[in-house]
């Protein structure tokens, strides 16, 4: 009895699983069949909204505080900046000092997509984008400068709604 049961549950059902998958894959898509995979260059799967594809930069928010560059485990963020005087906020006030970015590069040949830079940024200047198609024939071209990182901002999805009961960010 035991052997017969093992045979049915183990060996025969094993063959059944592969045969079922086989039949499902060869039945046309319209009839509910088809493969679980997609033929990549011809059709594309939409990545999840929070996928870690590429890091985008909102240049206006960046104060070149270097927190991201220092926390990067791979040291793949390069930042150079200088201080500039900006007109005062109120009439008669002293001119403000602002940090101006000269260079903000991320070397995607080194980046390991840990996202620590995005987490650590106190000024909301770095964002995850689900975009993933930016491979290059030359490895040096994977160094994205601040213009290119700024262009990725267009692909950043809207932040999802906070869950009910989540802690609200304290305003001023």
């Amino acid at each position: 009895m035991g052997i017969a049961k093992d045979f049915k549950n183990g060996y025969l059902s094993g063959l059944g699983v592969t045969m079922k998958t086989f039949v499902k894959t060869v039945t046309p898509k319209k009839m509910g069949g088809g493969a679980a995979t997609v033929q990549y260059p011809h059709e594309k799967e939409a990545p999840p909204i929070r996928a870690r594809g590429v890091i985008a930069l909102r240049e206006d928010n960046c104060t070149s505080c270097m927190l991201c560059a220092r926390s990067c485990p791979d040291w793949c963020i390069y930042i150079e900046g200088h201080k500039e005087l900006a007109p005062p906020r109120r009439a008669g006030g002293a001119p403000r000092k602002v940090n101006k970015l000269d260079r903000f590069d991320i070397d995607y040949a080194l980046c390991m997509y840990c996202g620590i830079c995005v987490e650590v940024c106190p000024f909301d200047a770095l964002f995850w984008s689900p975009e993933y198609e930016y491979s290059e024939p030359k490895i040096a071209d994977l160094l994205h400068d601040k213009t290119k990182l700024g262009e990725w901002m267009e692909t950043v999805p809207e932040a999802p709604e906070l869950e009910a009961g989540a802690e609200k960010k304290k305003g001023k």
Binding site: L15, T18, M19, T21, F22, V26, A35, Q39
Partner: protein, 350 residues
């Protein structure tokens, strides 16, 4: 070769036989690789497999062969170079000399050995030598382990295979493959000759034991310990690259085809259709057109049987080495011995 109604000189016949043998080995190999290894395995894993090279990826094999031919012919420094080079050839040649006894029609055969199945079983073990010396000459411990595992496994499973065939031989009363085909198609089961007497039905135990042993002889999963890519990094094939690896690869799948052909001859009635359908009684009555239809029937049966081999291959995980040996010696061999005994008794009674 009388089917052409012209007298072909001996050298012409030999040339035709060599050509036919090459086709009979390489065509099944290519078909099995594309249909089963590329496509059926992908479908069973819910993916489409190669789709880019040619329509539905049908030219993928050409691309793969081109890739292998371009690769460097590497040899380990300490390898026994000459032996290392000829090992894959031995494995492939054993396939070619194996197909020589398979009949494809009443006159469409390469040779008509009286002891055909005896020859086939003897020759099929030549490939073990190729595998063993490939493992030995590679100067690599994984290759050596793979080679030794292959030797142990192939010897263990040759026995049940031979014993399963003996049942067929007792029932047919001949060792000649051509006559085994005739015995199945001209025979009758309990006085009814509508289906002939395919030994698949009357020798079912023998058929199951034979197919399991074939699975092990071909080192297909679940009996692929000699290759075992995850523990032995492909065993005896570890050090082979380029076209020498290609030869091993072709030999593996050509062997699937040739063993399926032999199993078709032994158990599925070979090239024949039940003789009673056309009012034939013996070999002499068979019409000439069977020389054309026969090979097609053989190819169909070969595809069905290799489908089963590959289906099992893609469904089951690998056995452990001791489980493998225990299964051969404690299950298959006693069962096939029992099968011989019962067959012999029934042969005397009926």
């Amino acid at each position: 070769m009388s089917m052409f109604a012209v007298d072909i000189p001996y050298w012409g016949q030999s040339l035709l036989r060599v050509l036919g043998g090459t086709v009979a080995v390489l065509l099944p190999a290519g078909t099995i690789v594309y249909l089963f290894l590329f496509k059926m395995m992908s479908f069973m894993q819910s993916r489409l497999g190669p789709m880019e090279a040619g329509p539905y990826g049908s030219m993928q094999l050409v691309a793969e062969v081109g890739k292998w031919l371009q690769k460097e012919d590497l040899q380990p420094l300490r390898a026994d170079k000459r032996i290392f080079k000829i090992a894959p050839l031995i494995v492939l040649v054993s396939t070619f000399i194996l197909v020589a006894v398979v009949p494809f029609g009443p006159d469409a055969y390469f040779t008509n050995f009286q002891a055909g199945i005896f020859y086939a079983l003897a020759v099929s073990s030549v490939s073990v030598l190729g595998i063993l010396i490939a493992g030995w000459s590679s100067a690599n411990k994984y290759s050596l382990l793979g080679g030794l595992r292959a030797a142990g496994q192939l010897i263990a499973y040759e026995l049940p295979m031979v014993l399963a065939v003996i049942g067929v031989v007792i029932q047919a009363g001949t060792l000649n493959l051509q006559q085994i085909v005739v015995a199945q198609n001209a025979g009758e089961m309990f006085g009814w000759n509508g289906l002939g007497n395919p030994y698949l039905l009357t020798q079912f135990v023998g058929f199951v034991v034979f197919m399991i042993s074939v699975q092990a002889e071909l080192t297909q999963t679940p009996f692929d310990m000699p290759i075992a890519e995850s523990e032995l990094v492909s065993g005896y094939m570890t050090e082979y690259s380029g076209f020498r690896f290609l030869i091993f690869f072709i030999a593996e799948f050509a062997n699937v085809g040739v063993f399926s052909l032999i199993a078709a001859v032994l158990f599925l009635g070979g090239w024949g259709i039940p003789f009673s359908w056309f009012g034939w009684h013996s070999m002499g009555d068979v019409d000439n057109w069977m020389n054309i239809v026969g090979p097609l029937i053989m190819v169909t049966k070969m595809i069905v049987l290799s489908f089963v081999v590959m289906w099992v291959r893609f469904s089951y995980p690998r056995l452990r080495e001791d489980q493998l040996q225990r299964f051969a010696w404690k299950v298959l061999i006693p069962v096939s011995l029992l099968n011989i005994m019962v067959t012999a008794v029934l042969k005397v009674i009926f």
